[in-house]
């Protein structure tokens, strides 16, 4: 394992400390318990947005704290959901009296730890609600399983819901926007190489030189299927087919197309994938009216991508376009 780190135990602490120095204009950092919060939090009368989860997915979530997006982010150990204490502390830190929304990716650990924190926060009189993100079509959904995972679509939920909170929507309305985005976004990923968790020191799975893993999550888990390497266009077609099978579109619909790098993918490859995905959507009469391309929900240094498609309407488009000022996503101010 070759990593630019000091001690695997300090990866999260030190990275967050660096984040604090770099983005002191946008955020404050609490070190014990550890969380990142908007420098102007709590904002009176604004619904607070808190997300979090295991580290290793940066810029998710800390990079999305700031005006028009999250009020706080709670980083756990690498690929391990945070415990309730920092989630509770972050919830308290952003509570401006209008309630707090937890944006939680659907993993048993994340759901349970956020649930516990929400119980504790409610006990202190904070109105806490949660939305569970489950955009990953690689996993079959069912009432009897852990259900779909939350993956890169989370970024879109955070941006759009953040804009709704920023414009002054109340808690019910903010929850409704978050649920609407979650219900209209689907994601599917592929890995070309695995990643190495610092404390493990070994790759999360082993792929031969001509193999790729289809339907991966964002924690170095193996995917649904291992296949031979194919040209980029063929891989993109597979991912999109799974997405479009699941998300009903009609000709004339508008979509936001999000090609997400898993951390170790050269940018040219993201754009090659974007080109093909846009082409396929256009062929189906779906207009790509918004787009996002880059490393936004990563698995450390994994090479690979995920593709997310969000079905837009006027409201979602205008919330997407609204100003945002975070370390990783910024426009309009």
């Amino acid at each position: 394992m070759k990593k630019l780190i000091n001690d695997p135990k300090n990866v999260v602490n030190e990275a967050v400390a660096g984040f604090e120095v770099a983005h002191g204009d946008i955020v404050r950092v609490s070190h014990d318990p550890i969380f990142i919060v908007r420098s102007d939090a709590p904002i009176r009368g604004k619904v607070g947005l808190v997300s979090g989860g295991g580290s290793g997915h940066e810029p998710l979530h800390g990079g999305f704290v700031g005006y028009g997006m999250l009020d706080a982010a709670v980083p756990g150990a690498v690929f391990t959901s945070p415990t309730p204490d920092p989630i509770l502390a972050a919830t308290q830190a952003v509570d401006g009296g209008a309630g707090v929304l937890h944006i939680v990716k659907n993993y048993t650990g994340d759901v349970l730890n956020f649930e516990t924190a929400a119980d504790l926060a409610s006990a202190e009189g904070i109105d806490v609600r949660a939305v569970i993100i489950n955009d990953d079509v690689a996993v079959k959904d069912s009432l009897y399983t852990a259900g779909r995972r939350g993956v890169a679509g989370t970024v879109l939920v955070e941006k759009i819901t953040g804009a709704a909170a920023e414009r002054g929507d109340d808690l019910d309305a903010v929850v409704a926007v978050a649920e609407k985005v979650n219900s209209r976004v689907r994601t599917m990923g592929v890995a070309l190489t695995p990643c190495v968790v610092p404390h493990a020191g070994e790759p999360s799975f082993v792929l031969a030189d001509d193999e790729i893993e289809i339907g991966i999550g964002i924690h170095g888990e193996p995917g649904r299927e291992r296949i031979k390497l194919e040209p980029a266009d063929a891989i993109v077609d597979r991912l999109l087919a799974a997405i479009l099978d699941d998300l009903p579109f009609v000709r004339g619909d508008n979509a936001l197309l999000f090609v997400n790098g898993m951390g170790g993918t050269p940018q040219v490859e993201l754009y090659i994938a974007f080109r093909r995905a846009a082409e396929v959507l256009e062929e189906k009469g779906i207009a790509v009216t918004r787009s996002l391309i880059g490393n936004y929900t990563t698995s450390l240094e994994m090479a690979g991508i995920s593709i997310s498609v969000l079905k837009l309407d006027e409201e979602l488009m205008s919330l997407w376009d609204a100003p945002v000022q975070t370390a990783a996503l910024r426009w309009g101010r």
């Binding site: 295991g54 756990g76 150990a77 690498v78 690929f79 391990t80 959901s81 945070p82 415990t83 309730p84 204490d85 993993y107 048993t108 650990g109 349970l112 730890n113 649930e115 516990t116 690689a138 996993v139 079959k140 009897y144 399983t145 852990a146 995972r149 968790v197 404390h199 493990a200 070994e202 999360s204 799975f205 999550g217 924690h219 170095g220 888990e221 193996p222 649904r224």
Partner: protein, 213 residues
């Protein structure tokens, strides 16, 4: 023989020792069908308990120790295992109440409450390929041992053996809960890491009784 606070502390210390030694092995099980951190998570949690077991107040009961374990696991482990084991120990603490020492009936109540707590939080059933597949056989074996009039040592041994078989029996299963559920058929042939850590915890419980003169 009944089991007192000293036994409870020894159990937890022994568990911490075993989990530290099994850290890599549990990570490997979790890497195969999960995200590779289960050993790390359990080790972090139990190491965090150790300093708190120094200088316990004189009036400490088994229940207080179990509660301390619960809150420490909840606040240091994270992931799925943190809340699940945390709840297990919290409910176990509730089940034993303020008793100074635990007899066979109390031990059955302890493991039953622990298991029920996990089910309450995680909603898993037997056969879902989770730690429940180790807990439920252990609960059944403990109850059977108590009904047969076994002492605490034999009871814990029966529970540990049942948990070990239960963990092994997760191997051929497809998972319906936890991260392994994302893998579908590909989880077949791999042991569930949480069932393995449960088996280690219950083995530690038996070992410290048997090691006590």
């Amino acid at each position: 023989l009944t089991l007192d606070t000293t036994w409870t502390v020894r159990w937890i210390r022994r568990s911490a020792e075993v989990l530290a030694a099994s850290r890599a092995a549990l990570n490997t099980l979790d890497r195969d069908i999960g995200d590779g951190d289960h050993g790390e998570n359990m080790d972090r949690g139990f190491q965090a308990i150790l300093p708190k077991l120094e200088n316990l107040a004189i009036e400490t009961t088994p229940g207080t120790v179990l509660k301390l374990v619960a809150t420490t696991l909840i606040s240091t482990v994270g992931g799925a295992a943190g809340p699940l084991y945390g709840t297990a120990f919290l409910k176990a603490a509730g089940a034993v109440g303020t008793a100074q020492s635990l007899d066979a009936a109390a031990l059955v109540a302890l493991v039953t409450a622990a298991r029920d707590g996990i089910v309450l939080r995680g909603k898993a059933e037997e056969g879902d390929k989770t730690m429940i597949d180790a807990w439920t056989p252990a609960v059944n074996a403990a109850a059977a041992a108590q009904a047969a009039g076994s002492g605490v040592g034999a009871l814990l041994l029966a529970a540990a053996d049942a948990a070990a078989s239960g963990a092994q029996a997760t191997e051929p299963l497809v998972a319906r809960k936890g991260r392994a559920s994302y893998l579908g058929e590909r989880a077949i042939g791999h042991r569930d890491p949480g069932s393995q850590s449960t088996s280690l915890l219950l083995r530690a419980a038996a070992d410290v009784v048997l090691a006590t003169p």
